[in-house]
C-alpha cells in the first residue's frame, strides 16, 4: 500500500502540473458556465438536468485527452521500464494513474458544483436529481478514466490512445441503437451496455443499484485489463 501512496503522489504532481490539465479544466468550466447561464436565462427553472447532460458530453470528449498520456508517455520516454522493474505490483501502477486522473476530473466536477450553489441561493431546486446527477457523473468519470487508462496502456502513441478511447466511448454511448437490429435476447444486452441509458435514470433522481453496478463493473474490468496488459511482457 505504501507503494501506491508513493506512486499516487508522483502521478498527482504530474497531472496537476501539466498544462493539459488546466486547458481541459478551463474548457470544461467555460463551456459549462456558458450553457448554465444561457439555460437559466431562457428557462428560469432551477434544475441542472441539462447541465448534467452537457457535462456527460464534455467528459466523453475531454477524458481521452486527459488519459492519453498516462501510460503512452511513460512508454515513449522509457520510464515505464523504471516503474516495472521496481518492486511494485503492476496493479498499484495502474491504480495510481487511474486515481490521479480521476482526482482531476473530480476537481472539475467539484468546481462545477458552483452552479448548484447558485441555484440553491436564488431558487428552490429539487436536490434529489442534483445529488443523483453528481453521483452519475462521478461513476461515469470512473468508467471513462478506466477505459482511457486501458487504451493508453496499449500503445505508445498518445493520439492513437485518445482516438481509441473516444471510439470506445462513442460505441458504448450508442450501444442501445444496435439493439434495434439485434435479435432477442441479444437486444437486451446492447440496451444494458448503453452508457447514456444508465446515466439518464440517475439524473431523473432515481437510483438503481443495477445502474451503479454497470459503471463499477465496467470500470473494474477496464482496470483489470490494464493490469494484464502491463503484466503481459
Amino acid at each position: 500500500m505504501r507503494a501506491l501512496g508513493v506512486l499516487f503522489r508522483k502521478e498527482l504532481h504530474a497531472t496537476f502540473t501539466s498544462p493539459i490539465a488546466y486547458a481541459i479544466g478551463g474548457v470544461f468550466l467555460l463551456v459549462l458556465g456558458y450553457t448554465f447561464s444561457l439555460t437559466l436565462f431562457f428557462t428560469k427553472v432551477a434544475n441542472l438536468t441539462y447541465i448534467f447532460h452537457q457535462t456527460y458530453v464534455l467528459l466523453v470528449l475531454l477524458v481521452p485527452v486527459l488519459t492519453m498520456r498516462v501510460f503512452a508517455e511513460e512508454r515513449r520516454s522509457d520510464t515505464l521500464e523504471l516503474l516495472l522493474t521496481a518492486p511494485v505490483a503492476e496493479v498499484w501502477v495502474v491504480l495510481s494513474k487511474f486515481l490521479a486522473s480521476l482526482a482531476l476530473v473530480t476537481a472539475m466536477l467539484v468546481a462545477s458544483g458552483a452552479y448548484a450553489v447558485v441555484l440553491g441561493l436564488y431558487g428552490q431546486p429539487d436536490w434529489a436529481p442534483i445529488y443523483g446527477g453528481y453521483l452519475a457523473l462521478l461513476l461515469l468519470a470512473c468508467l471513462l478514466v478506466a477505459v482511457g487508462t486501458l487504451t493508453s496502456a496499449l500503445t505508445e502513441n498518445q493520439v492513437v490512445a485518445a482516438a481509441a478511447s473516444l471510439g470506445t466511448f462513442l460505441m458504448l454511448w450508442f450501444a442501445d441503437s444496435v439493439a434495434y437490429l439485434a435479435p432477442a435476447p441479444l437486444d437486451l444486452f446492447f440496451i444494458n451496455l448503453s452508457l447514456i441509458g444508465h446515466f439518464t435514470t440517475f439524473v431523473r433522481g432515481s437510483l438503481f443499484l443495477s445502474d451503479a453496478g454497470y459503471y463499477v463493473t465496467l470500470s473494474l474490468l477496464a482496470l483489470f485489463l490494464t493490469t494484464r496488459a502491463l503484466a503481459d511482457r
Binding site: 507503494a3 518492486p87 505490483a89
Partner: protein, 235 residues
C-alpha cells in the same frame, strides 16, 4: 572469488518473440562481488537477458534467480535486490534530482528514516551534491547518467545491472563511470553489458560472449590475455 555463492543464476533460459529467439538456452552464474561483462554485437540478446533478470520481461523457457528469488514467481523480492540502469537512461525530466532519488528510494521500499542518509551517500559518491536541486531536464548527458546510476544504488542493492552504461558519454565521463564500476566490485555483484570489448575488459572479472542469442563462451578476463582474438574467433 569462486568460493562465494552464486547471486545470479540463469538456467537454460530462452526468450522467443514469435518464432524468433532473442535468447536461446543461456545458462550462467554470477557470484557475489563479481563483475560479469556481457559482450556481444548489437542484437545479440544482451538487453533481453538483462531485462529478464530485472523482471521486465518473462522468459519463454528456463529459470532466472536473483539472490535466491525466482524473477517470475517471486518477482517483487527479486526486484528489491536489484539496481538497474536501462540502456536508454530513462528519468523523469520534470523532477528535481533530489526529488527523483527520494521517489526511487521510496518506490524500492526504503524506510522513511533511512532515506535522507542514503540519498546523501549516493549523491556524494556520484558527485551530485551541486545539482540536487536542479530539474533533471536541465542536466547534461553525463549528469543524467550519474543520476541514473544513483537511482540504481540508492537502496543499496545486492545486484547492480547496467545496460551499456557508457553509451553516448564523452571520454572523461567514460573514465568516471568505469571507476565507479571498479569501486562497486567486491561490494556488489555487477552485471554489465557492452558491445565495446575494451570497456568490458577494464572492469569485468569474467566476460560472457553472446551472439544471436546464444552464449558462446564465459572466460575469466585475467586468464584470457588476448580477449580480442577470442572474441573475433567466436563471432
Amino acid at each position: 572469488m569462486s568460493a562465494s555463492p552464486p547471486v545470479i543464476v540463469v538456467d537454460n533460459v530462452t526468450k522467443l518473440y514469435g518464432r524468433v529467439a532473442a535468447v536461446r538456452g543461456v545458462s550462467l552464474e554470477v557470484r557475489s562481488g563479481e563483475v560479469l561483462g556481457l559482450l556481444g554485437p548489437n542484437g545479440s540478446g544482451k538487453t533481453t537477458l538483462l531485462r529478464m533478470l530485472t523482471g521486465y520481461l518473462s522468459p519463454s523457457a528456463g529459470r532466472l534467480t536473483v539472490a535466491g528469488h525466482d524473477t517470475v514467481r517471486d518477482a517483487l523480492a527479486a526486484r528489491r535486490r536489484i539496481g538497474y540502469v536501462p540502456e536508454s537512461v530513462p528519468l523523469y525530466s520534470h523532477m528535481r534530482v533530489g526529488e527523483f532519488l527520494a521517489f526511487m528510494a521510496r518506490l524500492r521500499g526504503m524506510p522513511r528514516g533511512a532515506e535522507p542518509g542514503a540519498i546523501a551517500r549516493v549523491a556524494e559518491r556520484l558527485s551530485l551534491a551541486e545539482v540536487m536541486a536542479a530539474p533533471i531536464r536541465t542536466l547534461s548527458r553525463g549528469y543524467r547518467q550519474r543520476v541514473a546510476l544513483a537511482q540504481a544504488l540508492v537502496h543499496e542493492p545486492d545486484v547492480v545491472i547496467l545496460d551499456e552504461p557508457t553509451n553516448g558519454l564523452d571520454p572523461r565521463q567514460i573514465i568516471e563511470t568505469r571507476k565507479l564500476i571498479q569501486a562497486l566490485a567486491g561490494e556488489r555483484t555487477v552485471l554489465i553489458s557492452s558491445h565495446i570489448l575494451g570497456e568490458i575488459e577494464k572492469v569485468a572479472h569474467r566476460v560472457a560472449i553472446l551472439l544471436r542469442g546464444e552464449l558462446l563462451a564465459v572466460r575469466a578476463v585475467a586468464e584470457t590475455p588476448d580477449l580480442e582474438a577470442l572474441f573475433l574467433s567466436l563471432t
